[in-house]
Symmetry: D3
Subunit: 330 residues, 6 copies
């Protein structure tokens, strides 16, 4: 199984020792992005993965590629052009103090400035079974939008399974209006087979009026011929946090049990869920097992540092089997 992700790669600067940025000069760098996170997890589940992105041809771009390889993702399709990579800072949270994420400019990056016509999508798609496209591309620049549309269309035409996640961020590009964003999503959806999102993406972005969740998803999947629709959410009950997910397929909705969260670093929780779902679909597991696996992968990822999950299938199954059991004393 060979999976390609198209998307922005970012540098993440994590402020050390649970400090606030204003308090320290020590940062830990990691290379992340929805595509990177998803592929990292899928690579650790045993699949061949590669990323299609653009990095600057300098030591920063080379560092990002080295990190990508370390995560188990092939960097053979990375294009080196332009002079910048997007970045953001993360201040880890503690109890009531939330994790805080602050982005730098994302529109001047090598990825955001790369013209759609400069990609060789035909070559990038060769040998690939599944293509993942991140919705962020629809919010960045005209170049990234055009590239996303073109890749989605070409992959769809060539019979690849096309995954997409909403990742709706209207505020990323000040020029974006609600209407413009809605049209862009509507334009890409006909090419998609598997989609990750939330109820709110359908109601707030796509202006669906349906209140009943099952009917809503049914209508949406029919409208765009979506095969699978899945999503996850965090909830807060009596001072505890929980994580749960759903999977909609063939007119039917499946819900996972909610698992308690003990968060070390919450970023990438949706990507960890998505890679778990994709693994279940690839392996044709029962949908309930698939959801349990996806939630477990995400709960583990949220109890770990950095965005990119690196758990093996055994790690996830162990967590499912032994969670909360009494343990021996050494």
């Amino acid at each position: 199984m060979n999976i390609l992700a198209f998307g922005e790669v970012l540098l993440r600067f994590t402020v050390a020792d649970k400090m606030l940025l204003e308090q320290t000069d020590d940062l830990h760098l990691s290379t992340v992005g929805t595509g990177v996170n998803l592929l990292s997890s899928l690579a650790h589940f045993g699949y061949d993965t590669s990323i299609l992105t653009v990095l600057p041809n300098n030591p920063i771009g080379k560092k990002a590629s080295a990190d990508i390889r370390k995560l188990g993702i092939s960097d053979k399709k990375v294009i080196y052009q332009g002079n910048s990579i997007s970045s953001f800072f993360v201040e880890l949270g503690q109890g009531a103090r939330p994790q805080r994420v602050t982005y730098q400019d994302r529109l001047a990056s090598s990825f955001s400035q790369m013209k759609a016509s400069d990609y060789d999508f035909e070559k990038a798609l060769s040998g690939v079974d599944i293509v993942h496209i991140c919705g962020i591309s629809l919010s960045l620049t005209d170049q990234t939008r055009e590239a996303a549309f073109k890749l989605a269309e070409m992959a769809h035409e060539r019979g690849k399974a096309v995954c997409f996640d909403f990742n709706y961020r209207n505020q990323l590009n000040k020029g974006n209006t609600h209407l413009m964003m809605k049209k862009r999503y509507q334009k890409i959806l006909p090419f998609i087979d598997i989609i990750f999102g939330s109820k709110r993406d359908l109601t707030d972005l796509l202006d669906y009026q349906e209140k009943d969740e099952t009917k809503l998803y049914r209508k949406f999947c029919q409208d765009y011929q979506i095969n699978f629709f899945a999503g996850s959410n965090r909830s807060f009950v009596e001072g505890k946090k929980y994580f749960a997910g759903f999977l909609f397929h063939d007119n039917k909705i499946y819900h996972s049990a909610a698992k308690e969260l003990n968060i070390l670093d919450r970023i990438g929780s949706g990507d960890a869920f998505a890679s778990g779902i994709l693994t279940g679909l690839i392996e044709k597991w029962d949908f309930d097992d698939t959801l349990e696996f996806a939630i477990a992968n995400s709960v583990l990822a949220q109890a770990s540092m950095n965005d990119s999950p690196i758990f093996s299938r055994e790690d996830v199954f162990n967590y499912i089997d032994y969670e909360g059991k009494n343990d021996l004393i050494r």
Copy 2:
């Protein structure tokens, strides 16, 4: 609004990685003190602040000044004299293992040895609206006591609002007896407008016998013409820690709701509360809002490293608004 604090500045050596001091050689340094903590928070709420203290004229003193500036406090009134700064070690806690604080000698420091007559209080008070004096000065040396009395008196005479916090530490100076300490506090109280303390300060230090809390505070405030009396406390219920506070004014007591604590570093919690209260009084907020703001500032501070709170008003309001809400998945 221009606020001056008078008090001891200390070096804090935090043992790294939640280790015990005996286990590691890695320390994180920060520059702290009741005055520093209070002003840091007030500076981040948008006020002009400056500290009146004494530091050694060497790289250690210069480091402390640089840290003070970084916190947003003016170091223009710092006096460089003597050859030492007080210090303490902090070993962070975990669960049942409490945070442990160990002080080095505090009586030989530049601040403790500075004669009251060597200060130019007239100049220090120029342009200042509020003066804060920390009760620790009453426990250290004859020099610090005399300076505190003189400054309180001069500020009061010049119509400045004078704040004071009890911070009662009898054991600091072995020569101190209960009677001596009581007299010292009684001597400074007539100059004070706003005071931070606890019920216990009144009963144990000042020997008030009144059991009813409201009556007790009423009597105390009448005796010394105190305008505002406020305090906070930590409680422990069914394995969880909570933080709450009160504000007494004009014969009436106001209580905050108790907020759950998830402590990363508990030092400075009272200073964070005090700076929140002062902000509410300056801004003439409703007393309940003032208490909610002060408690929130302190809860956030206790969920953060180091003594000195650096949250903006927006940070505190965000915590109040969104605390415990369900959140979205990225």
Copy 3:
């Protein structure tokens, strides 16, 4: 009181910042082992302790000795021979993600390869009151087994109190079968006075059939003339972890209360319990007090980094006295 421990010393590489090993290159080294952990705690309770082990005669062995001394243990009986020390990696856990321990080869170490005949046990036992032998020695190599048997026998003959902990790890040496391991334990038990273990050690390793716990321990202690049998265990109730222990003596079983755990690093919890029990027995404390002290020592140790407890008696008593009390605000 002079206590000697015989056993394997290991290097522990703790992965920094709660990361997974695959995520970082930063490691913290500590020198550990059941004997080291136990003696470290006993040394901090005020006893003379020394370790009998074998280390390579190179900078790695010298580092281990320096660490042992730092823990308060005499290294005068350490033998320098061979060329290796065993090691393991620790990835700290968070919430649902368990702490993970991965061992490197333990059979090629200086300790595992040292012949029993090369020890001078007579000299090692001189001046010693209590000898502790770790059951791991029975799982490693023929050399460590023979040394353990010989030392146990000689110490017993010379009237020393001999302690032993099961620490049953069949999988350590692939050549070990259940039957072989059972016979080895049966061979050493007649020399033992105080033993640390669990119900499962008796049923699964020694094949006792008795279900009733008190009867089981009675039978076992009678069979081998064991004076004291003690053990601890971790349990999981409604999302919380608890720690409790028992002590069996003179046909009677004593149980501690269960204390809630907030784990920073769980390794060495049994050693912390054992050193607490030994202290109670040495000091001839009431058995309930002994258990409370041992549980408290272990709860504190599990809330601290590294295997080797370094709490003083005062630290443990303070925890017992003040645990969960409301505290003052600075």
Copy 4:
């Protein structure tokens, strides 16, 4: 003496432990820029300094301001607008391996995007004696160029001493041609009193043909009514590095002795030299003393980490006095 600098503030990410970026994830952050570096040094020499720049109104901008204050520079004139700050990575060198600097995009930053008309230069100049403008502003965007021209003109008209350093970087903005850059420098030079640059700036950028150094500088200073022209350079002789400088004034050139360099971090060497020269001019020192002081400040700065010099006058004089003397043994 009150000095204002106008210019870009950048985040510098220094790769830890003399590693290459590809080898580690540990970074040290510092806040730098020609203006920051110059003012930091001048503040440590005892002058009042403030920076006029634009930072994003988020935790990153606040961090930069905190760092600026820590360096002794007032942040009262900082404008918070836009959403980004420029940044670069530094890999420290060792022997033959040169220090490597890699920039991210600098044109999308808050500073680069701030319109000249949005500054209140009148207010910014109030109370200021000397204004420093960095030539980088001429290479970035139309906005930064216009702001630099306007500020230079206004400061000149109001009788402030205006300093400028060439810092010629044609490649910064791809749209820049040699001719365009030349015209921009020619446009600002008539407003300048003190200028930092090199022979090459005059010959390569401004197309002067004169070969004789003294004549060249004379012609240049006459053409634009420049009062002082100074510059520094690094040379390499028999495996050793040296640092030297010159100062041209009133038709006469002064040369410093060359000092051997032992570089820890070479960035900011020109800024350290410039702040030394300015100090000599402010204090009306002899020109030879001024050059010796400026070279010493820069040699010390290059033997220290980070761009921004923080040496006091005493530090610099001590270095001049005791350099290379035999020292005592403790």
Copy 5:
């Protein structure tokens, strides 16, 4: 060009901050080995590389694989078996204090215990142009020796270019005698095309008597039909260290100029030289250029941390072109 290396992979623990191991607990981990080092450099020069080795199937083995991928080397041929990986500690040197390397046991590792018959060499060689075998395999165990012989023979028969480096370490396995080692080297040499070693390898290990260097190499290369023989050495002249190399081919010896060394971390200098030589041979560069490139790559590597060179061709050419030139001041 596709290059395969066969050999031991080791964990390197570098003691932090130029400390001695006894002084600190902070270690930096890296994954190294002659094969890893050589391939890392070749991958950064643009070739496809993969390593044939054996790692434990646990988080330690997975960490090593992740590091290998990060260096640009394919881990697809890594075999997961056994339970250990070799390791060593490095204490960096300073001036007269030499860098110190201390190995742990290397014979119990997964690699040392893997049977030759368990490798699928046929598959490993498919698609490969050049095979590199490290001489360490001849010193470890019977299994590694047999595997090395078999791989060398099979690669030679299939027309691959076979490289070998002496890396003679008699003391690694106490069972090794001079005669045994000599015979083992004599057994593998007939399959080798390119060999890295020193004069001393020929005289001390292989007992050649010839004193004249050129004649010696001629005889050796004729005896075993070696196509290329190359080596490097460090020399010490008047307090400075220099690095130089030679290449023997077709009866002729070529010598590089000696370059001054400024060592940060000297390990892997021979591997950096070898990868430079191989690159020159692959690209059919002039032999003098090849030597200059190889020496430059090694000088840069010795001025960098860790064993594995990660310089690009551009980095090496830049060093050759600009070394020792005067530079500009920013």
Copy 6:
């Protein structure tokens, strides 16, 4: 051989990463002092050592004791009393930028405040062969002076070899005048057998007028019946630093060769020299060999972090034998 040192123990805070204190919050702690340094080295040369000092009875004092034990020194004679330990900050140097040491107050420490009458010197001296007293005790307080005199006298009377080093620091205690200090040194000298100092100590402190070095030492040793007088010094020639020493005995002066220094951390160089001299005297080595050994030990110590040398005899001999030899390439 059993050696006791009497003296102040200090905490040393080393600023991390060659930064200046003002630049960073990261500190490395070590426990040092002339006695600690000397004994650490002697312990690593194989002797039994113990320190007689006073530490606070709190986690800071316990940390210091743990560090002392780690260095191989017995802490059985440490007295826990008072509430403070002296401390200083170290900023490491680079090239022209000198290492900078800044002390905090040293007169309020547990050691400085301990009364001479509270020591049990009789017990402390039992079993001891050599006693070392540091001259710093003569500069601190009346208590430390009296204790030093009493111990020197008692040790002398009991036939112990008494060592002393001048370590003349007049400025430590502002009350000290030249005359007072001279008298104090004159008072202790009659009890001393072996003394470490410099020519300057004799001329500047003791007011000797003799210019000829040999005659000067002869006169001094005769005046006070000193058996051995030794000292070391650092010199600076053509940009390089050198280290050399002398030993005066029986009317004859011996000089070492000067060794080039490559300093990482220069503190403790005199202590490393002294421990080398003492070792030579204990072992009755030839005086030239003794000096070479002492110089080598100090050169190695200055090329290492921290004050306390931890080199074994083999380390020192290896340095002497192999220094500057050409080495092999791995």
